[in-house]
């Protein structure tokens, strides 16, 4: 009797629950504020770099320069002017140190990460933990010991001191990151290659390395940016003007009497260009899931 009653009843249409829109809007507003917070300094940097020294100091501030000028940029990029000559020298120094750090980091991290991923050797876990230990301390802790070490090695006032230091800081994460990539490449691909006639090295070179390209690129960007932006070690290890890197060098815009804000902002903008370009060019490699379809899981 009860079952009949139930059967004859019309199914009830259950409406989708409303009322979460409030949260959704709150989320949107929060994210918009967050984006504004992030973009504002960059916007202000660009705007200020287009102003004259006088316009930059005006109050209330101009949100858009009344007469925008590129003079600040020309000054920085003029190899014959005193400012331009120094700026381009710093730029070149930074580029050299960062590229060298990146190339060396990849050259060391790739085989190291591969070894941690594929080989079982005594002390493997300990070593893997040990390389991460560095990252548990703030960089500044190592400043004095490393300076003493560099002095003993005669590396103070050379770019070598910075490259070595940046490698020390960059490699642990690079190895960790790349190991994750190698862990995800099925070992059967290498085994197949070795059966197909490749040596272990050829299997790595022809099969595994191309598949880890996204990892290598991510590692490169990470190392490059770390070296490009680093300040405190560059400030400590280098005292000669012609050796300085950009973060240290652009301090010259702060002088005892006045700060050349538009010049400083133009220099900062130019300094961020390589990093932005690097990201734009290489970002597709981050997204591309190369191993997709390699094997069935």
């Amino acid at each position: 009797m009860t079952s009949e009653t139930v059967n004859s009843a019309e199914p009830v249409r259950v409406a989708r629950r409303r009322g979460i829109d409030g949260w959704r809007w709150a989320g949107r507003i929060f994210l918009t504020l967050l984006v504004g917070f992030t973009i504002m300094p960059m916007f202000w940097m660009v705007i200020t770099s287009l102003k004259t020294g006088f316009a930059a100091m005006q109050y209330p501030p101009q949100w858009w320069p009344a007469s925008p000028t590129l003079d600040n940029y020309w000054r920085l990029l003029d190899p014959n002017g005193s400012v331009g000559r120094d700026f381009l020298r710093y730029f070149w120094n930074s580029m050299f140190v960062s590229v060298a750090t990146t190339v060396l980091a990849v050259l060391v991290a790739v085989p190291a990460a591969y070894a941690f991923s594929r080989f079982r050797f005594p002390g493997r876990n300990f070593l893997f933990f040990a390389i991460l230990l560095r990252n548990m301390f703030p960089a500044v802790v190592f400043l004095v010991p490393l300076f003493i070490l560099m002095r003993v090695l005669g590396l103070v006032n050379t770019h070598g001191s910075l490259i070595l230091t940046y490698l020390t800081f960059g490699l642990p994460l690079a190895i960790w990151l790349l190991k994750g990539f190698y862990d995800n490449i099925p070992i059967q691909l290498e085994q197949a290659a070795r059966i197909d006639g490749a040596t272990r090295f050829q299997a790595f070179f022809h099969i595994v390395m191309p598949l880890s390209t996204p990892g290598i690129i991510a590692t490169s960007i990470y190392s490059f940016i770390g070296a490009w932006n680093e300040y405190i070690y560059a400030y400590t290890f280098l005292t000669r003007h012609d050796q300085m890197t950009l973060p240290v060098g652009i301090q010259r815009f702060f002088s005892e009497n006045a700060t050349d804000w538009p010049g400083l902002m133009a220099a900062t903008f130019l300094m961020s260009v390589p990093v932005v370009v690097l990201f734009l060019v290489l970002q597709k490699y981050f997204v591309r899931a190369l191993t997709e379809g390699a094997v069935k899981h």
């Binding site: 099925p186 197949a192 040596t199 390699a294």
Partner: protein, 365 residues
């Protein structure tokens, strides 16, 4: 093509034996299946032959060479992996060309051989695609193609069909069998599916716990399993095994159950059980050799129906007999119900008897 000989092959990890004293000969042109449950050592054995893992002791002979210390690339083998292991960044053509490229063949010869192999496997139209653009069956074919393009001495196959759906698996099964016949290839094929082994292989090597249990033709393994493991592993549904006690009165041997019934043994079977190490004997019977009766008859033993599984042309019945489950197959015309009392009749010429202690088959001589 070549012969493969494994002599007392041992692989240990610490104190664990992954493969223990495995010895077998794969003749030139033979299709041998290594079969067993997960962790039985079959894949380890295959990887030892391939050279992907080093052997602990023993010898591997391929053709006329002892290859123990050779790199995989120098063993003249080809391998098909369970997950196909196609190079994802390369096209099908480049995948097939890779083994030839590594052997530094001239370009036009590589091109010719790749197209030849592609034609054999009917994948010519896929040559420019990447592996991820292929279906499972097509990937499988490319994997086979990469193996055969080089004309190796031995083909090693590690569960090549287990990633395919049921229908495709049956189709590829016959294709691989055809592939073997056409090329007269020496093949070592690892599978956990005894049906694949029985249907495809010339010989099957049943493994368990790192030990080779039995190495013979599928027909012989099916008809004369050497022990209870092989008996229960090969055949579907599995052979039923009923633990019983041996008794004898007035010179007549019989198997008795705790339930009280007893099954008199034929003269030949009595000779078999005479060699048992104790009075514990296990009765084995395949589903097709057991008759089911609805009424008690001479020589029958009582059982109770547990489940009934009609499949269309055959109905499988599981019944409780002396505490064990027994599989019986019936024509669909016979209707039985769960919990029904039935009587089972065993064919004395076709039952198997095992030593309850050693689990080994009891023989008449």
């Amino acid at each position: 093509m070549a012969q493969v000989v494994l002599k007392d092959l041992v692989k240990t990890y610490g104190s664990v034996y992954a493969a223990k004293d495995v010895s077998l000969t794969v003749n030139d042109g033979e299709f041998v299946a290594l079969v067993g449950p997960s962790g039985c050592g079959k894949t380890t054995t295959l990887n030892l032959v391939a050279g992907l893992i080093p052997i602990t002791s023993g010898d591997i002979v391929i053709g006329d060479r002892i290859v123990n210390d050779l790199d995989p690339k120098d063993r003249d083998i080809a391998m098909v992996f369970q997950n196909y292991a196609l190079y994802p960044q390369k096209t099908v053509f480049q995948n097939l060309a890779f083994p030839l490229m590594m052997r530094k063949l001239p370009k036009d010869e590589i091109d010719r051989k790749v197209r030849e192999a592609a034609k054999v496997l009917d994948i010519t139209h896929l040559l420019e695609r990447k592996p991820r653009e292929l279906s499972g069956g097509q990937q499988q074919r490319v994997a086979l193609g990469r193996a055969l393009v080089r004309d190796p001495a031995v083909f090693l196959m590690d569960e090549p069909l287990s990633n395919l759906d049921a229908k495709l698996r049956v189709q590829m099964r016959s294709e691989i069998k055809r592939f073997h016949q056409d090329l007269n290839a020496t093949i070592i094929y690892v599978t956990h599916d005894q049906l694949e082994a029985v249907t495809m292989a010339d010989k099957m090597a049943v493994m368990n716990g790192g030990l080779l249990q039995q190495y013979d033709t599928p027909a012989n393994v099916f008809a004369n399993p050497v022990n209870m493991f092989v008996a229960s592993f090969v055949g579907s549904p599995a052979m039923s095994l009923v633990p019983l006690e041996l008794s004898s009165s007035n010179g007549q041997s019989a198997l008795t159950s705790a339930e009280g019934w007893s099954l008199p043994l034929s003269e030949r079977n009595a000779r078999k059980v005479a060699g048992a190490s104790s009075n514990k004997v296990v009765l084995g019977a395949r589903h097709s050799t057991i008759n089911l009766h609805k009424t008690q008859m001479p020589g029958t033993v009582p059982a109770r129906v547990y489940t009934v599984e009609p499949t269309g042309d055959i109905t499988f019945v599981q019944a409780f007999l002396a505490g064990a489950i027994v599989n019986i197959s019936l024509p669909p015309s016979v209707v039985v119900a769960p919990d029904e009392q039935v009587w089972l009749e065993f064919d004395q010429d076709r039952i198997h008897l095992f030593d309850g202690q050693t689990e080994m088959a009891l023989r008449a001589d």
